[in-house]
């Protein structure tokens, strides 16, 4: 379709403005993280390029400790979600039992319950288990994931039933079929779900705040929040450099897997 030049200019102008507006906070954060404190406080344009903020973020504030905590927690949640979701999805697709569909609908109905609604019972549970300030308390509540099960179930459903039957005739058990056929065939969806789960847990804020009382297992998002203090003047340069480091994994994953992620997420929905 050919668009007249006038309309093209207007359209692109509007798009660029909107993009700039949306991207502004991020851009400001990036620029500010390279500025000296003096420039930030006076509100002037950057006069010098400095990596000082980054150095201080790592040295004074032990950012690395928080990043490693976050990385560990996110990876554990991701693995837990992949294992549980794929096993549940396998059962919903390949095992036949009474009330299977009903159970599945009940399962995905839990997607309608927001996380915030279950946060208090979850908190009680992990407190009674003594999991406060532990990695288990940060990770285990997120292993069971209705969305992941749903996504993988849609994907597994596209695997022809004949593959299961062929392996039944060959004398292959359920577990071996799951490991050697289902998982490799559904690789794309597993990667999508893994990335999605990783990013979601990386960006988690409320739960780590509740489930931790000291710095030992705290994630980076909470750590960042602690940089802002009520009493003293905020060191904005350091806060911004911390924020930039926190968004890096998200950006890397998005740039690398944008196409795949999109395809994986919409695959089930389109069918």
């Amino acid at each position: 379709m050919r668009i007249p030049l006038g309309r093209k200019i207007v359209t692109y102008f509007l798009l660029s403005t909107a993009a700039l507006l949306v991207f502004m906070p991020t851009l400001m954060a990036v620029v500010m993280s390279f500025m000296t404190n003096q420039d930030i406080m006076t509100g002037s344009f950057p006069s010098a390029f400095s990596l000082d903020n980054y150095r201080r973020a790592f040295e004074q504030f032990s950012l690395m400790h928080y990043v490693i905590n976050s990385l560990f927690v996110s990876i554990i949640i991701m693995i837990g979600q992949l294992v549980l979701s794929s096993l549940a999805a396998y059962a919903f697709v390949f095992l036949e039992f009474k009330g299977r569909d009903f159970l599945f609908y009940l399962f995905i109905a839990t997607m309608m319950v927001p996380f915030e609604a279950s946060i208090i019972p979850n908190f009680h549970t992990i407190r009674d288990l003594g999991w406060i300030d532990q990695y288990t308390g940060l990770t285990v509540p997120f292993f069971a994931m209705a969305f992941g099960t749903f996504l993988l179930r849609q994907n597994f459903k596209q695997i022809p039933k004949e593959l299961r039957e062929a392996s039944q005739i060959a004398g292959m058990g359920e577990v071996k079929f799951y490991l050697t056929v289902v998982l490799p065939v559904a690789k794309t969806s597993l990667i999508t779900l893994g990335v999605y789960g990783f990013l979601t847990s990386w960006n988690m804020y409320l739960w780590p705040l509740l489930a931790t009382t000291n710095d030992s297992v705290r994630t980076v998002q909470i750590g960042l929040r602690q940089l802002q203090s009520q009493e003293q003047m905020n060191d904005w340069g350091m806060i911004m450099s911390g924020a930039v480091i926190v968004i890096i994994p998200t950006l890397i994953l998005l740039f690398l897997g944008q196409k795949k992620l999109q395809r994986g997420l919409t695959e089930g929905a389109l069918k």
Binding site: P160, A166, Q168, I169, A170, G171, M172, V181
Partner: protein, 371 residues
Amino acid sequence: MSYIELTDITKSYHAGKNILEKINFTIEKGEFFVLVGPSGSGKSTLLRMIAGLENVTDGILKMNQKIVNHLPPKDRNLSMVFQNYALYPHLSVEQNILFGLQAKKVSKKEQKKRLKETAEMMGLSDFLDRKPRQLSGGQRQRVALARAVVSEAPLCLMDEPLSNLDAKLRAQMRVEIRRLQKQLGLTLIYVTHDQVEAMTMGDRIMVLNDGEIQQVGKPITLYNEPANLFVASFIGSPKMNIGKAEVKNTSCFLINNTLSFPVGPILQEALKEHKDIVVGIRPEHIQPTTHHEATHSLEVVNVEQLGNETTLAFDVDGELWTAKWPGQWDIMAGHQLKVYISEEHLSFFDAQTKQLVRPASFNSQEEVQAI
């Protein structure tokens, strides 16, 4: 001593209507047995029950004199080829072929030996490293067959294995499967909806319709002596011409109010028992008048020139009848054509029970003429 024995096999889902109703038949060792029927006739269900992929609702299924009703598929010592080939998309051809052997824990050396033999036999030696999606339809089909061959199971089940191939390839694979079966001495149960496949491949055919056995027999028996109207119209291409017979007086009867035939002694006998009679005649039995006196005159509505034969369509009181004449005939549609129809070639069926009353006689003189 038959190899596979089905006694009163019945299948139903959720206690509803029976999909298969009291199926009884036996299959001998080394036999090529074809299950044929229109879609929804229950033929695939029956095959899957033999494979152990579906439960048997009622009846007894025996293999090698042993009841196997509740035996899981892997213990039935069989291989199966599926309509969509069921190749594992993430594995190479070699891994696909050896998949079953690995599950059965066959030694690596034995695997290698069998793989080499099978790949050579099926002409797959050059493709062993490829993935299934890099293969053509015919090659995928061969991989699926190779997987069945390599298992060395004495019984092989095939569920419409050729229906995804084009016509030319299908004809070629028909011959290959047949040859393979003879070469390996396999007992093969083959499901198809294509009567040409059934006729050309089977040692014996079972025609199934609505979950009931219509007829079991050799292909030529089914063609010459169809047990009922369903088999008569299902087997043979173009299909048998069917018309309603009406007795005018003691000396002659009319088919579809157009074609009159003298009433022979056999028909007189039959008419005493059966009230209404339906008559069938094979397309090749509506013959040109080169060797015979014309008996009837029919209006030609369509002519199909196939080069080696000519298919004619006639209008017989509103119904389309077809005739197949060998060779090339210069006939125009819309003309009246003189033809020869012998009363001997008519098959008679009871209109109520649809059962065969008298088959057409195929005497030797006609066979020679057909050649």
